[in-house]
């Protein structure tokens, strides 16, 4: 267990969004966080990243506080959270993924540029390198975010609804990117909203509804009773549950 969250509580507008979260997630796996609307899924990863200030709690990665190892962490936010009108091109956005290695006041060099070209190739966006970001479709924007996360080469990457609103082809190629990342030993923690697909795409699942309902390997945890506990209604799981 390598990501370890202890006693995490987040309050927003006087109401607790997350309460007493204790969660351990394994290294080198594709981990999904699912739960109904308002369950605090995005808040959980934002709190883990340090983007949201928790009232209490600690987040450790490999035994040390995560906030002291920010450069090991990547993030694929929801697409709406950035300024797509910003005057720059695809290559430059992906290049931003390398900035933490470059540091303050220095410019990215040849090695970084080469890495960016490779990442763009991996997500199938090589021919769009010089395209203005304001001209991208939703799926292309998401590919750019994946390329940026790849360029960062982070050990641990958080993703907020990575497949929301993208077309089928994009979804396919993004899944391949995830598999590549996993084969390189990277850990992915993604908020996922689609119960139909979560089973085949992820290795590990956490059911969340303001508290942790259940967390564990997909087979052991993706059960009707757990889903009912999280969503409060009955679910017929397609394909049945063993």
């Amino acid at each position: 267990m390598s990501l370890s969250i202890r006693d995490l509580t987040v309050i927003y507008r006087d109401a607790p969004v997350l309460r007493d979260i204790d969660l351990d997630l394994p290294k080198g796996q594709l981990c999904a966080i699912v739960g109904p609307n308002g369950a605090g899924k995005s808040t959980l990863i934002k709190a883990a990243l340090g983007l949201v200030e928790p009232v209490s709690g600690s987040i450790n990665w490999c035994g040390a506080p995560l906030r002291t190892q920010k450069t090991k962490v990547g993030y694929v936010p929801q697409r709406s959270s950035v300024d797509w009108d910003f005057p720059t091109d695809v290559f430059d956005v992906v290049l931003m993924g390398t900035f933490s290695r470059v540091g303050w006041l220095k410019s990215p060099g040849k090695a970084e540029r080469k890495r960016v070209a490779e990442c763009l190739d991996l997500v199938g966006m090589a021919e769009y390198a010089k395209t203005q970001i304001s001209q991208l479709s939703g799926g292309q924007q998401q590919r750019v975010f994946f390329a940026r996360a790849l360029a960062q080469n982070a050990e641990l990457t958080f993703m907020d609804e990575p497949f929301a609103g993208v077309d089928a082809t994009t979804e396919e190629s993004l899944l391949n990117v995830l598999k590549t990342m996993k084969s390189e030993g990277k850990t992915i923690i993604a908020v996922h909203h689609d119960l139909q697909t979560v089973r085949e795409r992820f290795d590990h699942i956490t059911l969340l509804n303001k508290r942790i309902i259940a967390s564990g390997s997909m087979d052991a945890t993706f059960t009707e009773s757990n889903l009912k506990a999280a969503y409060g209604i009955d679910f017929a799981i397609a394909g049945g549950v063993d």
Binding site: T9, D14, V55
Partner: protein
């Protein structure tokens, strides 16, 4: 209560209180629609209108100058809205652009007027920096008239305003004439601005519009109560500021009124029950325990 017998003082305090009442209540429009800087833009943009009205009527009477200010303000907001609708320009950029251009144009016309060494021009400065201390009865009457008309119109469109401020897309979907309502609400802000100009001046005006509404918001979660409280805070703040500036200390009225109102905002932020810091901390404690 000897000061209340002083005619000038009474006029100043009455005028400033009324101004506070109107701009406080109408300012809620700006506060809730995230348009607090619209007031500032309108105030600056009124300069060319005031100067042109002066050139046209050769009069320092409050009413024609206010009309000129209102006219320029409406045109300015028209350009802001066209810019935002036609292009991707963000609100801050659109407001800043129009504000500075209009004010610059005003400065050019003001320069022409001043070059003429016209004896009447002295009054124009009042519109820039405000001269609450020299308010006369006719101005108080003008403030009251425009203010009451604006408040009446505000009451008429209150339902639409509520819908529009809360959820503009929903408002449009249920068939609210969004564009017309927007124009009316902007018109009301223009009314509040021209009323305030010759009392507190261009620069301090945005605080007169914003401060009472922001303070009121900390005391209530209900829209009607917020508007009433904002009017009350504006009125009391205006009166107290005018009194302090003339009786307690020899200081310019507008700035003192603004500081009184801003001080009240700070107090409300700390102790106001609706969103106040003290109450929140308590509730937060309850939520975690």
């Amino acid at each position: 209560m000897s000061w209340f017998n002083d005619y000038t003082l009474r006029t100043v305090i009455l005028g400033t209180s009324l101004l506070g009442l109107f701009s406080g209540a109408l300012g809620c429009i700006a506060v809730l629609r995230r348009q607090s800087l619209v007031g500032d833009t309108l105030a600056h943009a009124s300069l060319p209108g005031i100067c042109l009205a002066y050139l046209l009527f050769r009069s320092r009477e409050a009413l024609p100058l206010m009309l000129g200010a209102a006219f320029a303000g409406l045109i300015a907001m028209g350009i802001v809205s066209v810019t935002q609708r036609a292009t991707k320009t963000d609100p801050n950029s659109a407001l800043g652009t129009v504000l500075t251009i209009f004010f610059g144009a005003g400065a050019v016309i003001l320069g022409i007027i001043q070059r003429g060494h016209d004896a009447g021009q002295a009054g124009l400065d009042k519109f820039l920096f405000g001269q609450a201390a020299s308010l006369v009865t006719s101005q108080v009457v003008a403030i009251a008239t425009i203010g009451l008309i604006s408040l009446f119109v505000f009451a008429m469109v209150f339902k639409e305003f509520k819908l529009l401020a809360f959820d503009p897309i929903f408002a449009e979907s249920v068939g609210l004439p969004v564009r017309r309502t927007n124009i009316i609400l902007t018109g009301l802000l223009v009314g509040a601005v021209v009323v305030g100009l010759n009392t507190v001046g261009v620069i301090l005006l945005s605080a007169m519009l914003v401060a009472p509404g922001v303070a009121a918001r900390q005391w209530t979660d209900q829209l009607v109560k917020m508007v009433v409280l904002a009017g009350l805070f504006g009125c009391l703040g205006g009166g107290l500021g005018a009194y302090l500036s003339t009786v307690a200390a020899e200081m310019p009225t507008g700035p003192v009124v603004v500081l009184v109102l801003v001080a009240w905002v700070v107090i409300s932020l700390i102790i106001g029950p609706a969103k106040g810091i003290a109450f929140r901390a308590k509730r937060r404690q309850e939520a975690t325990s």
